[in-house]
């Protein structure tokens, strides 16, 4: 069940869009901000509110890496780009380092629910490869040392 607050916010946001369905992304963001990820029930409810089929909400959720569909994430969601430029400059190595440092595999969350590690396709920062994104921030020109420092600060 969506919270009353979320429902109210979604209702408010509708007015900004030409059609109800255009509010899908915004509605998803509102709901995810509360629960950290989107559950099956969330998506069904959002679909009902904006007047689309649930599968269309899932489509949007699966298309954009910022949504966590049926995937609870830790406080810090670490996404490492593994597209061509980053890979050429050692993304795989960065991922290994992170796995060792956090003691989890890609796709997993630490037991203290602090970190989730995933990979992402191009995040549009090839000039500063290799790079990763933690929640809404970019970390660029990564090296082993830099990764250690960033994670250390967050722990």
């Amino acid at each position: 069940m969506l919270s009353d607050k979320a429902k109210k916010e979604i209702e408010e946001i509708h007015g900004r869009y030409h059609s109800r369905r255009s509010a899908t992304m915004a509605a998803m963001q509102i709901v995810q901000a509360e629960g950290g990820h989107l559950t099956e029930a969330d998506m069904r409810e959002i679909a009902e509110i904006v007047g689309v089929n649930p599968v269309q909400v899932q489509e949007v959720g699966a298309f954009y890496s910022m949504y966590n569909v049926e995937r609870p994430v830790g406080k810090y969601h670490v996404q490492v780009c593994r597209n061509i430029s980053c890979s050429l400059l050692g993304a795989e190595h960065i991922i290994e380092t992170l796995e060792k440092k956090l003691n989890i595999k890609t796709g997993e969350t630490t037991t203290d629910k602090l970190f989730t590690l995933t990979t992402a396709e191009c995040l549009g920062s090839c000039g500063t490869a290799p790079m990763m994104q933690i929640n809404d921030d970019y970390y660029e020109d990564l090296t082993d040392a830099k990764v250690g420092e960033i994670i250390g600060k967050l722990k």
């Binding site: 649930p54 599968v55 298309f63």
Partner: protein, 846 residues
């Protein structure tokens, strides 16, 4: 018009033509995956890359329009190697499990790789696998995503054609999967359009699973036997069992489109309950086999010794034109009786009015011409349920060509979402709504309407009253009138709601004439729910008009009058062909009593049915897969059905049986071969004289000609229009609700059913499950009921149990009940001539 050079050939094409189509015109086929003519363009698979002279990069032919002077190469070295490379990518994740894939042997990917390579892959990376095992999406669809080429045809067809949009493209790039929400069970229309359009073995038919390879199958081209949309299809059998029906993209006006009934309802052909020998009722009332000779002899004697006016025949609107024509010839010319009818649901007087209001005798109208109108007004027909593919055509073409659709029906339906305006008039009050529309025209442009016959001068004065009676606000009526005023060409599509009680028939005629008087081009299309209903009328299966709508002499009876006379002991012999009067006549107890008073009841049917159980003599008729002949669909399109197999046991085709009876009574009865009977029809019935039925094998060459997609030569011409001079009347529909029976009961065809025939299909029966009723959410809430509750419906001294479904858009105070259950005789809720029955609904607690 731009001139373009494709390889070595110059062609001149229309502005905006795609390179793909220009190439086709020049005789070059460009391979495609994601392109499909009736879907929105995607241009994602890049199979269709071609080289345009002067452009550095190859371009996709399926989304690039030609420009004047363009020079395109579709087959050179660069293009071929690009094609091969695209396929290499598509194969990089492909499962390569052709030996266990149902699609193998008719797979576009197999064919494409065979033709365009590569025959070796270079990818060393591990393949991405979506899942280990195929998964079922519902009772008819099984899915394997590891074979997907991500063309998204399935997703687009579900949204743009079917109008459901329950499939999505989940994820990006090579891990994108086309499937349902979280791969959960799909409670959808079960039409299998996604299966039909999938080029590979991702979406597959569950009932066909592991049953055959294409080369094992024997096929025949035919027409779907369910509704009068008349979809062309191919049915295929292996070892005597019909295993699937598929659409015929190049051959039928319906392209790849079919609905659940057409695509999965074929299995009634394998039903075990077939009648295989003539049966006579013995002294103890038990049916026992007799020979054909004896059976025909008994009929001959009975017919000969009974006065013609006490003999009658009721034929199903699912027989072929040939059988129907011969049947009326037998009755009228040999027996001397004009007591014939083609339905037990509608009174023939309503039929006559409907035929006139929809201008059927004027000849055929292609649905593609109809859809070329500025406004399409769908009234009194739940097309989405009764004629699903008609619904697809309307949705798809209206969206693609920006046409306005208006819907006026008493119940909600899927097409509502494609309509500019929806008018949910009160059940039985279409006449009032149409009166209000015409009244509004009268008020605003009355000076132009003096030529409209039968127009009451006061309609515009009664506007308020009419609007109130119909439940449609004056504002909405005014908006519709404005919208129709700005349209130049308008199509009115009208259907079974008008036929059920005659509601709105006169109004339809008035609206049609009013629009014409205002200078608009108006087409009227009947929307019918039995495959050969229009053919049956064309063949004169009606007590008032003969073949080609020529009036007949004398006063004869339709089904209802025959039953009335029987009840009075004034009618002796009834010959019923393919109909089940007991199940379909809207007053069960009346029908039972009347039939039991007959001296002699002959029933000809493929399956045992409720009427046959009462028969003195039963004749085993053939199913549509066992005969040659023609059906005429609601457009007036004549289409051939061809034989796939022989009737089981001693069964005979309907045509053969009628002929046997006819020639026993009269040795010069005439031809019995379908082709010859059709020739006779063409020589006797003007409307058919020029028709070239789609799929008919030419008598001269023994070959079937090649058709265009929308083959206009198959449309019937005009008949005796002027002669059919019946006064179309609007019936005043009574509503039987009262304090104890607060709900109006509406019945009709469910999406998965159509008449009693579909009840022989285990597959279709399985889709709907237990008998259901539909109700509005608000009524359910007030009664404290939920989806899935078991409820009892009572009315007319009858009661039955149903599972409750809640359907959005159902008006308050209305329940809908599909009329096709074998276990529940829905017509027991009806009493003749009392309009819409009132019923009550109670929950079963505990």
């Amino acid at each position: 018009m731009p001139k373009v050079k494709i390889n070595d050939k110059e062609v001149e094409v229309k502005d905006g033509t795609l390179i793909l189509d220009a190439a086709k015109e020049a005789g070059y086929i460009v391979p495609t995956f994601c392109y499909q003519a009736d879907l929105s363009s995607l241009g994602s698979c890049r199979m269709c890359l071609v080289e345009i002279k002067g452009q550095r990069k190859l371009q996709p032919a399926c989304i690039t329009p030609v420009l004047d002077d363009m020079s395109v190469e579709t087959n050179n070295e660069t293009v071929s190697s690009a094609r091969s490379a695209m396929l290499e990518f598509l194969l990089s994740n492909h499962a390569f499990d052709c030996p266990v894939c149902d699609k193998a042997g008719e797979c576009e990917l197999q064919d494409m790789v065979h033709k365009h390579g590569p025959h070796k892959g270079r990818h060393a990376e591990p393949k991405h696998s979506f899942h280990n095992k195929d998964y079922a999406l519902n009772a008819v669809i099984v899915k394997n995503s590891n074979r997907c080429v991500q063309c998204q045809r399935c997703v687009r067809v579900c949204e743009e054609v079917v109008g459901r949009g329950v499939l999505g493209s989940i994820g990006r790039g090579h891990i994108q999967e086309e499937t349902s929400f979280l791969r959960t069970y799909l409670d959808c229309d079960h039409d299998g359009m996604c299966i039909e359009v999938c080029p590979v073995g991702c979406f597959m038919r569950r009932p066909y699973r592991f049953k055959a390879r294409p080369w094992d199958l024997k096929s025949t081209k035919t027409v779907c036997p369910y509704c009068a949309t008349g979809c062309r299809m191919t049915i295929q059998e292996r070892d005597g069992e019909v295993v699937r029906s598929i659409a015929m993209p190049e051959d039928g006006f319906n392209g790849k489109m079919m609905c659940a009934r057409g695509r999965f309802g074929y299995d009634f052909l394998n039903s075990k309950g077939r009648l295989t020998t003539p049966l006579i009722k013995n002294k103890d009332g038990v049916h026992e086999p007799i020979s054909w000779d004896k059976a025909i002899d008994i009929i001959k004697t009975r017919f000969a010794r009974t006065a013609p006016e006490k003999i009658g025949a009721v034929a199903s609107a699912r027989l072929t034109n040939e059988a129907l024509y011969l049947m009326q010839k037998l009755m009228r010319d040999v027996v001397g009786s004009g007591n014939i009818d083609s339905s037990s649901r509608w009174n023939h007087s309503v039929v006559e009015g409907f035929v006139q209001a929809t201008e059927i005798p004027k000849g055929g109208t292609s649905i593609y011409d109809a859809m070329d109108s500025d406004a399409i007004f769908v009234l009194g027909t739940h097309v989405s349920d009764e004629n699903p593919v008609t619904d697809y055509v309307i949705r798809n073409l209206a969206a693609a060509n920006r046409k306005s659709v208006f819907v006026a029906t008493p119940r909600a339906m899927k097409l509502d979402s494609s309509a500019q305006m929806v008018f949910r008039y009160k059940p039985g009050r279409l006449a009032a709504m149409l009166g209000a529309i015409v009244g509004k025209f009268q008020e605003t442009r009355g000076d132009k309407l003096s030529s409209v016959k039968g127009l009451s001068p006061t309609l515009s004065k009664d506007l308020e009253e009419l609007s109130k009676a119909s439940g449609i606000s004056l504002d909405d009526i005014a908006t519709l009138v404005t919208r129709l005023n700005i349209s130049e060409k308008i199509t009115l599509m009208a259907g079974t709601e008008l036929l059920r009680g005659g509601d709105g028939i006169k109004g339809l005629g008035l609206l049609r004439d009013t629009l014409r008087a205002l200078g608009k081009e108006v087409l009227v299309m009947p929307i019918l729910d039995r495959s050969n209903q229009r053919g049956a009328w064309d063949m004169g299966i009606n007590p008032v008009f003969g073949p080609g709508y020529a009036p007949v002499e004398g006063k004869w009876k339709g089904t209802e009058e025959m039953l009335e006379a029987a009840l009075d002991g004034d009618f002796d012999v009834l010959y019923v062909l393919g109909e089940d009067i007991q199940s379909m006549f809207p007053d069960r107890s009346f029908a039972t009593m009347a039939l039991s008073k007959l001296d002699f009841l002959v029933v000809q049917a493929a399956y045992m049915n409720e009427t046959a159980k009462m028969a003195d003599l039963i004749l085993p008729g053939g199913s549509f897969a066992e005969k040659h002949g023609n059906y005429t669909n609601q457009e007036g399109r004549v289409q051939a059905i061809t034989k796939l197999m022989e009737p089981p046991g001693d069964g005979k085709t309907d045509l053969d049986i009628i002929w046997l009876i006819g020639s026993a009574l009269d040795s010069s009865f005439g031809p019995n071969l379908p082709r010859e009977v059709f020739k006779e029809i063409q020589s006797k019935v003007d409307m058919y004289s020029e028709v070239e039925p789609t799929g008919f094998i030419s008598a001269d060459t023994g070959e079937e000609p090649v058709y265009k997609f929308d083959f206009k030569e198959a449309l019937v011409g005009s008949g005796s229009v002027e002669l059919l001079d019946v006064e179309a009347k609007d019936a005043e529909i009574k509503i039987g609700t009262d304090g104890d029976h607060p709900f109006m009961l509406l019945t009709g065809n469910h999406l998965f059913h159509s008449g009693v025939m579909s009840m022989q299909s285990e597959l279709l029966k399985g889709l709907l499950g237990k008998p259901i009723i539909e109700m509005s959410a608000l009524d359910a809430k007030e009664l404290d009921m939920n989806i899935g509750d078991l409820v009892t419906v009572r009315g007319n001294g009858f009661e039955a149990d149903f599972v409750l479904r809640i359907k959005e858009g159902t008006p308050r105070g209305v329940i809908f009940m599909p009329e096709n259950y074998q276990e529940i005789a829905v017509n027991k809720f009806y009493e003749r001539k009392t309009g819409i029955p009132g019923v009550n609904v109670t929950a079963q607690r505990g």
